[in-house]
Amino acid sequence: MPQTVFAPWDDPNEKPLISFQRVTKRFGDFTAIDDISLDIFSREFFALLGPSGCGKTTLMRMLAGFETPTEGKIFLAGQDIAPVPPNKRAVNMMFQSYALFPHLTVWDNIAFGLKREGKDKDAIEARVNEMLKLTRLEKFKSRKPHQISGGQRQRVALARSLAKAPKLLLLDEPLGALDAKLRQDTQFELVDIQEKTGTTFVIVTHDQEEAMTVASRVAVMDEGKLMQVSTPDRIYESPDSVYVADFIGDVNIIEGRAHQTGDNVQVIWAEGQPPLMAKTQKDFSLDQQCWLAIRPEKVAISAERPQAPNTLRGRILDIAYLGNISTYHVELPTGHVIKAQEANTRRIARRSFTWEDEVWLSWTDTAGVLLDR
């Protein structure tokens, strides 16, 4: 699998394709981008993830050339792109609304950028056909945008933005307008096309699942700042802040004070409760405020007290049945509610637990991540 060996961000000799250097963007009093530095490498599928208004779209529009940084510099292949207008950048964008030209056919939409380059007819013809084939749109080439479905439109937009073979392709919420089922299929298609063309993709999305599925690396943003930039598995397994842990997937957060011995930490979290045990590479001072983040699927639920570094007793408050798994909301005597997930390997009638049952929750000392912010 190339994905496993593909990690240019870990190679200090690798030159980034895009480099944001202390970039700030303000609109009047509002700071949309706050002192961001970020490197994106060639052939990456890079996701900018965050809630709406976090600045991810602004960041992308600066790459496209529709916005200019208030402070700082952006380099594309080592060149400062500030003075380069959008139409001269080797960057193309796929718009959230697709922005297909309604007066042109699918074919002409895809050919639009190529014609502007002044290529000869045969070259354009060949390239457009290639794009049509790539996106499986051959049959629709003479239709107008309003005569095709949403998914087809999305593929036209993709084909159009890829036609010029840009160094960098920007995708603004590319799947936002599709329904859930189509979205999933398209996600894989996107990855496929990205691998086939070898183009660097930067995708903007607010959908964490989408980001996790398609991206080689994910940047989680909040209020104009980068919260964490890492591979999807590391973002999930080792979030470095409560914000990221909470934004990506489901998580239990327990606040407490740290008592560290080597890489073992005792988290003092509630009166009259034994401390929680966790391992960490970080250094915590005595009684430093800390947060233990544990994914629900890492919390085991049992009727008998199990042998484990962390065991807590509680009562089942609620059960969310999701088909393949069930999430149990367990209330501790302290009032905390902890979520635990179990795979439903047995039939619903034979489920072990039900509402109001007294149960034991347990997890290992490596299951959780101890966070200092």
Binding site: F66, S97, A99, H103, E117, K144, S161
Partner: protein
């Protein structure tokens, strides 16, 4: 029943405001001039019964239409009207498009005000507005005085009573009819289309030609028809602002009707004018229909 009524209303409208007057005018155009009240013959005499109706129809003929072909005045006047209307339409477009474009580009909160300003002149009588242009364009008028004062010209420009003044008058009067449909088209234009065009390698100017212009085409066409059609038959503007050299069919019609008292020939002129206008109107309707189909709703 409700449907029937809904369908009937526009047809009734068409019948009362177009078809009946047209039939009357058509009938007069087939009559002969006479010194009587009203000044043409035959009159439909229903008291004479069936025979009266037969006599009436027997006396109608196309003599007046034949007469129109005997004198080059008429086709010259039609051509000249079409030419003046066409030039005025192009000028109105050249003035109106940038205004509509600027309106569509302006911040949202300004738009109602700008729209208001475009419509505002309608609150004054059309005649008063045209008369005030006489005051502006006259040799001793405001425009010449300002230009003289600025030292741009040495002697007053003769604008009033020339074709130029007619063009100014038509452009001024019909400008809102050009601006509004174009503005409506431009306002609907998705800004991201222009960004997409730029992103794909267009300069601002080529994006304008390749995206803005084709997408505002329907507005432009609607605006052009709204200006062209009434401009062809225009009478007031050329008679107030134009010189005696400005030959327009409206003026010829007026003379047939008022100076020659020849209602039948005047009606024939009007019928032909209508036919000339029906062609662009039909084209316009076709275009509209095509647009509706294209939008696929």
């Amino acid at each position: 029943m409700r449907r029937l009524v809904l369908i009937l209303v526009p047809y009734l409208w068409l019948l009362c405001l177009f078809l009946i007057p047209f039939v009357i005018v058509m009938k007069i155009s087939l009559s002969d001039v006479a010194l009587s009240i009203p000044p043409y013959t035959p009159q439909l005499d229903l008291s004479a019964g069936w025979q009266g109706i037969r006599d009436f129809f027997a006396e109608l003929d196309f003599e007046n239409f034949a007469f129109l072909t005997t004198d080059d005045l008429y086709w010259k006047a039609y051509l000249s009207s079409l030419q003046i209307a066409a030039i005025s339409t192009v000028l109105t477009l050249l003035v109106g498009f940038p205004i509509a474009y600027a309106m569509a580009q302006s911040p949202d909160e300004w738009r109602p005000t700008l729209m208001m300003l475009v419509i505002l002149p309608f609150w004054t009588s059309f005649l008063i507005r045209v008369y005030s242009w006489m005051g502006i364009l006259a040799n001793e008028g405001v425009l010449n005085q300002v230009l003289l004062w600025l030292g741009i010209i040495d002697s007053p420009l003769q604008i009033l009573n020339t074709k130029t003044a007619v063009y100014i008058g038509i452009v001024y009067t019909y400008l809102p009819f050009m601006i509004l449909p174009i503005y409506a088209a431009l306002e609907r234009l998705d800004g991201s289309l222009l960004e997409a065009a730029e992103d794909l390698g267009c300069s601002r100017i080529s994006a304008f030609w390749l995206v803005t212009v084709p997408l505002s085409k329907n507005g432009v066409i609607a605006g052009c028809f709204l200006v062209f059609i009434p401009a062809v038959g225009e009478f007031v503007i050329p008679s107030l602002l134009g010189g005696s050299k400005t030959l327009m069919i409206g003026k010829v019609l007026w003379e047939e009707f008022f100076s020659n008292r020849d209602w039948p020939v005047a009606s024939a002129v009007a019928v032909i004018l209508l036919l000339i206008l029906v062609i662009p109107i039909v084209l316009f309707q076709r275009q509209e229909q095509k647009q509706r189909e294209a939008e696929g709703t």
